[in-house]
Amino acid sequence: MEDKQIIELYFARDEQAIQETDIKYGRLCTSVSYNILANASDAEECVNDTYFHTWNQIPPTVPLYFSAFLCKIVRNLSLKRLDYLTAKKRCPQVVVSLEELEAILPDDRMASQVESEELGRIISLFLRTEKAEARNVFLRKYLFMDSVSDIAARYGYEESKVKSMLFRTRSRLRAYLKKEGVEV
């Protein structure tokens, strides 16, 4: 079913909307959540929460990119869930990803002055200046929390190439943020 038709079902308050969402995007949502939580039952709960939030937000929201809309919700809920769980249960892969991102914003005092929304807008602008392959590798890693090996398999690259691309993109992002006055 086309996204537009699924959204129409939400507007009609037809519960079939959730089933159609699950059929089309359940696997994608589960994959995003599982990458963060590394636990099938936790991931399943987050995916169910995602449908619950989607049901509450549509209408009035009409997502322009339904898949991206769902991914953002499931990612957010999964990260919150991760915070909720004990540190011992954290997925090492996610911890590594987040530590890599830490290096981009070395001075927390400066970073705290920038709203997350504004920072997201700046990062979006930066990503638009990047080549498509570097941009998408970056997003797969830090937004979808895919592992380096999964990204390499997805795009047919060597793992070393993925690591190198991520390193260079992070370096360029760091320089870009500095230029924008986000970093000292």
């Binding site: 696997r27 169910n48 990119y65 920072l119 997201g120 990503l127 638009r128 999964d150 398999a153 690259y157």
Partner: protein
């Protein structure tokens, strides 16, 4: 602390970038090996590598190469029938009298992009039929040459496929473009799209947007793209009117289903440019309507395709419980526009569409919601608007006029 800052920031990445990351595949020549994803019973994916080309895609491309004999680049403005594009009809639920009104109004809302005289003076360039990649490269070189020339390019044919911009609905906040694509041959048109779509206005990336296949005709399809040009240099709403718009379509691809993803069926670039026209007409209603204590609607601005609502609303984060018992922080939103009631009593349900909402930079109380409408309206006919709180489900009727 700083980790959570940047993790939170990634939540605000533009959705078109996120959508691209979901479907993006590198060009075939960049990929050394084919990757096949296998879905296991537990929902987890594993991957295996297979040497060689992707058989299905090769077949599709080969089938098209057989019918694509010439690459032709036409600099012309195409005539389009004097009625509304099917896509605009369905996107904005326009029919009957409303369509007639739209076609005859002179305020610039509807742009029928045609200059028939240009057809007589159009130039065509025909390239040799060589290997497909060489043809594409040759075409791009020619297009760059032509981009240096003055004048509009609203129709381009490359490798047998023609892309033309035919109509647009444009106001101070939104640009809705309709393209017509011809020459797709035997391709399953329902799955056809473009691998990449870039749009610049006055030399700047045009902000957030999205679109896709809207209508499938017998020998053509209609493709839409809607954008909300962000404000640049505080130029304000409508800054883009009268400015040059440049659009680049890259590679026709086809969605082959969830498992196979999208594959390029015809490489090429289709570059268009013309001057953006549109209307600055708008209707502003100054209000002071309290929805709840500390949620006040101060102003509503309506055009036939946009609604802008200004609120006095204190920025706040609220903690809530998720369905599985977890606790999460949510940024509280005010109620958003849902429906409209016309002066005759007719209810237009769910008019509020995609949009951008948030506090004005530097303010913690002034909140603005800019929404595209999901149907064409006549602002002077609107009596009141219905707003809905997405958290509580509570609805509010807000009259636009004093009773």
């Amino acid at each position: 602390m700083k980790t959570s800052k940047i993790v939170d920031a990634l939540h605000y990445i533009d959705e078109d970038l996120v959508a691209e990351a979901i479907t993006y595949r590198p060009k075939e020549e960049d990929v050394a090996e084919e990757i096949i994803k296998i879905s296991e019973a537990n929902g987890k994916e594993t991957t295996m590598k297979k040497k060689g080309k992707i058989a299905k895609r090769t077949l599709l491309v080969a089938a098209l190469i057989a019918v694509l004999v010439l690459g032709t680049l036409t600099v012309a403005v195409a005539a389009f029938r004097g009625s509304l594009a099917e896509s605009l009809r369905s996107m904005f639920k326009v029919s009957g009298e409303l369509e007639e009104d739209l076609l005859t109004r002179e305020d610039g809302l509807l742009q029928i992009i045609e200059t028939p005289a240009a057809l007589e003076t159009s130039k065509s360039q025909t390239m040799e039929n060589t290997e497909i990649v060489e043809t594409v490269r040759e075409t791009i070189e020619k297009e760059e040459d032509i981009f240096d020339q003055e004048g509009d390019i609203t129709s381009v044919t490359c490798n047998g496929i023609t892309v033309r911009v035919v109509q647009a609905l444009v106001d101070r906040y939104h640009v809705n473009l309709i393209f017509r694509i011809e020459g797709l041959g035997e391709a399953n048109k329902k799955g056809v799209g473009f691998r990449k779509f870039e749009i610049n206005i006055d030399g700047k990336a045009a902000g957030s947007g999205g679109g896709g296949l809207e209508f499938v005709g017998e020998d053509y399809v209609e493709y839409s793209w809607s954008v909300r040009p962000e404000d640049y240099n505080n130029e304000g709403p409508g800054w883009f009117l009268g400015k040059q718009i440049e659009i680049k379509f890259t590679d026709v691809d086809m969605f082959l289903g969830k498992e196979m993803g999208s594959y390029i069926i015809q490489e090429g670039e289709w570059n268009l440019k013309w001057t953006m026209q549109g209307t600055v007409d708008t209707n502003i209603f100054m209000l002071n309507h309290e929805l709840e204590p500390e949620i006040i609607i101060t102003e509503v601005e309506l055009t036939p395709i946009s609604a802008v609502v200004r609120y006095e609303f204190l920025k706040q984060t609220v903690q809530g419980q998720t369905a599985n018992g977890g606790v999460a922080n949510f940024i509280k939103d005010p109620p958003f526009i849902l429906s409209a009631i016309l002066k005759g009593g007719t209810l237009l349900e769910y008019i509020g569409g995609m949009g951008r909402d948030g506090h004005v930079p530097g303010s913690t109380t002034e909140f603005v919601s800019i929404r595209a409408l999901r149907m064409l309206i006549e602002p002077s006919e609107v009596d009141s608007l219905i707003f809905r709180d997405s958290n509580t489900g509570k609805e509010y009727i807000v009259p636009l006029y004093d009773k």
